[in-house]
């Protein structure tokens, strides 16, 4: 029991590192991945910025990042990390490859969410002479918001998984703690505790994400529940 108490500071530090890595790469997912996802969608055939070449190139680049196993991406990007941060060790350094992975991952999630938007609605907006930027802001973003939030939740949870591999470059984090103490030092209790902590974290994130998605979708849902009533009146 005492030993477990002694673990608490380590656990707290590990959570801090995980939050830092996931926070930085999560921010990159939004700043870089979100626009890329919109561009991948908007350059598709039949959409307002249709551009075969740009779409092919974008898809190819995203696929490359997505197809490289994260451990390999971590190593491949070491020179870039060294160039940007002048170091390759620590949670900040691990955030560089994590950001690449998260941006590519979230871009796909965004694209998929946008493909769920009724094409007829986009066509209608186009027919009324709506500018592409207004379509993005007022039609795509709003109609796809629940899907975007769900996609972001999935991205963040995947990032927690990826960040466990960041231990390889001394990134630290909860997953790293589980491997170093629990696996390498045969402390099964430590491993179980960290795993339980991770399960709780992921559950919380998923519930939070679902809640936001449902809330953003609420208007439409409420409408559907009431529609039967209104139909009778008509």
């Amino acid at each position: 029991m005492n030993e477990l108490k002694g673990l608490l500071p380590d656990l707290a530090k590990a959570f801090g590192e995980t939050f830092l890595m996931v926070g930085i790469s999560g921010a990159f997912a939004i700043v870089v991945g979100l626009p890329i996802g919109f561009l991948l969608f908007a350059t598709q055939k039949g959409i307002f910025w249709e551009n075969k070449l740009a779409n092919k190139v974008g898809n190819f680049l995203v696929n490359i990042i997505r197809s490289v196993p994260f451990v390999i991406l971590l190593v491949l990007l070491l020179p870039l990390t060294q160039f940007i941060l002048k170091t390759t060790i620590g949670p900040n350094a691990a955030s560089v490859p994590l950001s690449f992975a998260s941006a590519a991952f979230f871009a796909r999630m965004v694209q998929a969410a946008l493909c769920e938007v009724d094409p007829g609605v986009i066509e209608a907006a186009t027919a009324f002479g709506t500018s592409p930027m207004l379509i993005i802001r007022s039609v795509l973003f709003r109609e796809a918001l629940p899907g975007l939030l769900r996609g972001f939740t999935v991205t963040i949870i995947s990032l927690i998984g990826y960040s466990a591999m960041a231990g390889i470059v001394g990134g630290g984090g909860v997953g790293d703690l589980a491997i170093r103490f629990g696996y390498y030092r045969y402390k099964t209790d430590v491993m179980i505790i960290t795993v339980i902590a991770l399960i709780i974290l992921v559950q919380l994130l998923q519930s939070g994400g679902d809640l936001l998605a449902v809330k953003s979708d609420k208007k439409a849902r409420e409408g559907n529940q009431n529609s039967a009533k209104f139909l009778e009146v008509d």
Partner: protein
């Protein structure tokens, strides 16, 4: 589509009819350049708009309203917001928006539904929102893409009535595509019939209904009149079976009575109906006449000279 050339007059209600895949939807979308023609031009009031792009094209589209088979409303928006959206697309100032939206809601009869979400509306109400949105920017041209195909008969009729009323009130030019001749018959002045990417017939709705020339048009009209004679009726009758088309004032004259009296033939009606196309009557009757051979020939000739069209079925 190939060799499609047509002129739509300002202020008319023009119909384009054809089976699915005939190219009518493409033709309609060419008018606001949602589809760009590989060859040819789109002229609007004499101005070539085919080459327009970006901001210029958007400005042009503000003056062309469009409604859709599946309404294409934004489901996270209220009725008010859906209409506002079209106005914002045209960069209307908020003072104009506040004044225009209630006005247009009243025109389509949805003043009490401004704050409803579209999922709370029935199909007919959704199409009314679609119409309101399309008219928000006071367009000169309204394109209708199968506007009643997703609606039941009664609601269809009320939407067509609304379009007619709007046409009377605003004098707006309306182009409507449909696979149903019944829709065209109710609302249009002129119609183009499309088959396999070509316009096979073009004329006033009454002319096309009364004297369809192309095989495809004949089928369409036939289906609209819903004219099918049971085989049993043909078996048990004696004499000549005639299908008679009465046009214009002939539809309202007692021609059969005169024929029976003058030529001494018996007349028995098997099937009949009078349709009003563009508020002009077209009568269609299937009758059996019996009598002496000479009298029969004379009677048929008499009908041929008076009625629009007589076809001897047997």
């Amino acid at each position: 589509m190939r060799n499609v050339s047509l002129t739509i007059e300002k202020g008319e209600i023009f119909g384009i009819v054809g089976s699915s895949g005939a190219g009518k939807s493409t033709l309609l979308r060419t008018i606001n350049l949602l589809e760009r023609p590989t060859q040819g031009q789109v002229l609007l009031e004499g101005r070539d708009i085919t080459g327009l792009a970006n901001a210029e094209l958007r400005d042009q589209r503000h003056k062309i309203g469009m409604i859709f088979q599946h309404f294409n409303l934004m489901h996270t928006y209220t009725v008010w917001e859906n209409i506002t959206f079209a106005l914002r697309a045209a960069k209307a100032p908020s003072s104009v928006i506040r004044q225009r939206v209630p006005e247009i809601l009243e025109l389509v009869g949805l003043s009490d539904k401004a704050d409803a979400y579209t999922s709370q509306l029935s199909g007919g109400q959704k199409q009314r929102v679609g119409i309101a949105r399309a008219l928000a920017n006071q367009p000169e041209l309204l394109l209708c893409d199968e506007p009643t195909s997703a609606l039941d008969l009664e609601t269809s009729a009320s939407i067509l009535e609304l379009l007619k009323a709007i046409h009377r009130k605003l004098g707006i030019t309306i182009v409507i595509i449909s696979h149903e001749m019944a829709v065209i018959k109710t609302i249009c002045d002129r119609v183009a019939v499309m088959d396999k990417g070509e316009i096979v017939e073009l004329g006033s709705v009454y002319e096309v209904f009364a004297r369809p020339r192309h095989q495809f048009t004949k089928q369409l009209v036939e289906r609209t009149f819903n004219f099918e004679l049971p085989a049993r009726a043909l078996d048990i009758t004696r004499g000549k079976i005639l299908k008679i088309l009465f046009l214009e004032e002939n539809a309202e004259k007692p021609l059969l009575n005169e024929m029976a009296l003058w030529y001494g033939v018996s007349v028995n009606i098997l099937h009949g109906k009078i349709e009003y196309v563009a508020e002009r009557p077209i009568g269609l009757l299937v009758v059996v006449i019996d009598g002496e051979d000479g009298a029969l020939v004379d009677a048929i000739n008499f009908l041929r000279s008076r009625a629009g069209n007589v076809e001897v079925l047997r």
